[in-house]
């Protein structure tokens, strides 16, 4: 990937006095939806603040589409950031909040008004735009912040916990919006601690723990690198699970075989999934078993998070 096409961290560290924010981050974020995952204090917000210039690195450099964050005139023409701060300038309506900040882009009234209307429509806030933000619910405040971040049609959208405070319907709409924006070629960087939603929306993940990046990439690829330490769990539902279990025990790459609690299938742990799938295919072709379904049981963000971070996962 060309450095001018992505978001690049080169050996970036950030210390707040003696407190570590992030350390030695080496990252390259391509277009699509990238989710930053990690427990509180792991460095997710620090990474986002570094790429938008709200904080400056103690060491290393950051480039967003080739632009340093110290150049706000160029950076924020192409980037938008919806922070986690639930605070707004006093006395403004939702419309003012978007329109007046768009005027900072030196847009004329007509263009700013047009983009404001479009952004409000995208987050379904048109009806409430004339009311003061102080009267908004938490969900409405979240949506008006999102509208403000996307109003100038950025190429890079950074969203810090954007689903917080949204009801299920609004969450679904927001996720659909993120997908649409990513489909339009945007870099969408999201931090979230709601792992099943991360699974739904991410093209790639960056996992952080104690200020270090512990894993990055597509979740299947990350999981694939952990097979030796944490064998891949595969749930196989078939007509004769005990026969399958007996065959599997003889295989080298199979680490464990457990009967599923409903006794309708097996939970197989393997360090060599390809060989396992080959064997399974062979047994099916021989007519030894009748297969109902095969699916990885721990190839999701939640499981990878558990293995890397949840179990006291240390720094890389």
């Amino acid at each position: 990937m060309n450095a001018a096409d992505g978001i690049v961290f080169e050996d970036v560290s950030k210390f707040y006095g003696n407190v570590l924010g992030v350390n030695r981050v080496q990252l390259s974020i391509p277009p699509g939806i990238t989710t930053l995952v990690g427990p509180n204090g792991s460095g997710k917000t620090t990474l986002m603040n570094l790429m938008t210039g709200l904080v400056q690195p103690s060491r290393g450099s950051v480039r967003v589409l080739g632009i340093p964050p110290s150049d706000p005139e160029r950076l924020f023409a192409v980037a938008g950031y919806c922070t986690q701060f639930d605070a707004f300038p006093r006395g403004l309506t939702g419309y003012d909040f978007i329109y007046l900040y768009l005027r900072l882009h030196a847009m004329n009234h007509l263009r700013a008004a047009e983009l404001t209307a479009r952004a409000l429509e995208r987050v379904t806030m048109t009806a409430a735009a004339g009311h003061r933000i102080a009267s908004y619910s938490k969900g409405m405040r979240q949506r008006i912040k999102l509208a403000q971040a996307i109003a100038h049609q950025p190429s890079v959208l950074v969203l810090d916990e954007p689903l917080n405070g949204l009801d299920p319907m609004a969450r679904a709409e927001a996720i659909a919006l993120f997908r649409t924006l990513a489909g339009e070629g945007l870099h969408v960087i999201i931090s979230s601690h709601i792992l099943h939603e991360v699974d739904q929306i991410s093209d790639q993940v960056v996992m952080l723990s104690n200020g270090y990046v512990v894993a990055e990439g597509q979740i299947q690829a990350v999981r694939g690198e952990m097979h030796q330490e944490h064998p891949l769990q595969i749930l196989v539902r078939c007509s004769q699970p005990s026969l399958l279990a007996a065959s599997l025990f003889a295989q080298d790459g199979v680490a464990e075989v457990r009967m599923h609690h409903d006794r309708g299938g097996l939970l197989v742990g393997t360090r060599d999934p390809e060989r396992f799938y080959e064997l399974l295919g062979k047994m099916v072709l021989e007519g030894a078993i009748h297969l109902e379904s095969v699916a990885p049981a721990d190839e999701d963000v939640n499981s990878v998070y558990e293995y890397l971070i949840g179990g006291g996962g240390g720094a890389a």
């Binding site: 709200l54 005139e73 924020f76 006395g91 005027r103 900072l104 882009h105």
Partner: protein, 276 residues
């Protein structure tokens, strides 16, 4: 005008527009309106008192009284505290409210942001306190003369212009100072009180120290000199007023230097509300 300068100018206008909307929003401006209402209230009270026979009127001596009220009350307290409220809010207030990042996330150079915010503060303070001084003087003249036109004729009109101009200069000078203090200190009220004490005691300082103040230059520009009377007058040190051709550009230059320091300072500013 080059495209870069045109862009900055458009952005400064956008910042001023946004800030004026915030500054004049009703709740936020109420303390300022109340503060600005005090000087006219004094002269309205004096006029009512005279009309009802409660107070006496010494004709043109009231102009000296006005000069005293202007220098000792309006400049040192009303404009001073008004500028504290307006200019400390520009950055420190936004940090406390956790809303400064919206500006930092706009495609605006931080130096341009400082200039835009400063100008919006000067405009707000000048409108509110300039109007307060003008109304006060108008009330006084209305009280002194039979008709408003007669009251505002000749030197009175000139004095009105001078007092209003000095008020605007005070807003520019104190405003720049409090803008910078709001960036340098987490609790800028303490240094603001130090400035207030310094500006109040300046009358007792030798002439060299008097020049390290804003009030000395502002008083030099006032059309009527106020004699310092009472037991404390024994300790007062008089100094020749600075001529207007030095005081006005000097104050503007001082404001420019302070705003420039603020512009340099803001380049290193980080958003970390959690530590505030």
């Amino acid at each position: 005008m080059s495209p870069g300068v045109r862009l900055w100018w458009a952005q400064i206008l956008a910042i001023v527009r946004l800030e004026l909307k915030k500054n004049f929003s009703f709740r936020r401006a109420v303390p300022l309106y109340l503060l600005a209402a005090l000087p006219p209230a004094i002269f309205v009270g004096h006029a009512i008192g005279y009309a009802r026979g409660w107070t006496s009127c010494h004709g043109t001596e009231d102009l000296t009284v006005f000069a005293g009220v202007f220098q000792l009350f309006v400049l040192r307290l009303v404009v001073f505290f008004g500028c504290v409220v307006i200019f400390l809010n520009l950055f420190r207030g936004e940090v406390v409210q956790k809303s400064l990042h919206y500006y930092f996330l706009a495609p605006v150079r931080r130096e341009v942001l400082v200039v835009g915010k400063y100008l919006s503060g000067v405009l707000t303070a000048s409108c509110i306190f300039g109007a307060s001084v003008a109304i006060s003087y108008f009330v006084l003249c209305r009280h002194l003369a039979a008709t408003p036109s007669a009251g505002l004729a000749g030197p009175a009109l000139q004095h009105l212009g001078t007092y209003t101009g000095v008020t605007v200069l005070a807003c520019a000078g104190y405003g720049a100072l409090f803008l910078l203090l709001g960036m340098l200190f987490r609790n800028p009220i303490v240094p603001a009180v130090v400035v207030l004490v310094w500006e109040s005691l300046i009358v007792f300082f030798p002439s060299l120290l008097k020049k390290i103040s804003i009030i000395f230059y502002l008083e030099s520009l006032c059309p009527v000199r106020v004699p310092f009377e009472g037991p404390w007058a024994l300790f007062a040190i008089t100094a020749n007023p600075t001529p207007a051709y030095v005081a006005v550009p000097g104050l503007l230059l001082l404001a420019l230097v302070i705003v420039s320091v603020a512009a340099v300072r803001i380049r290193r500013m980080e958003i970390s509300y959690g530590t505030e």
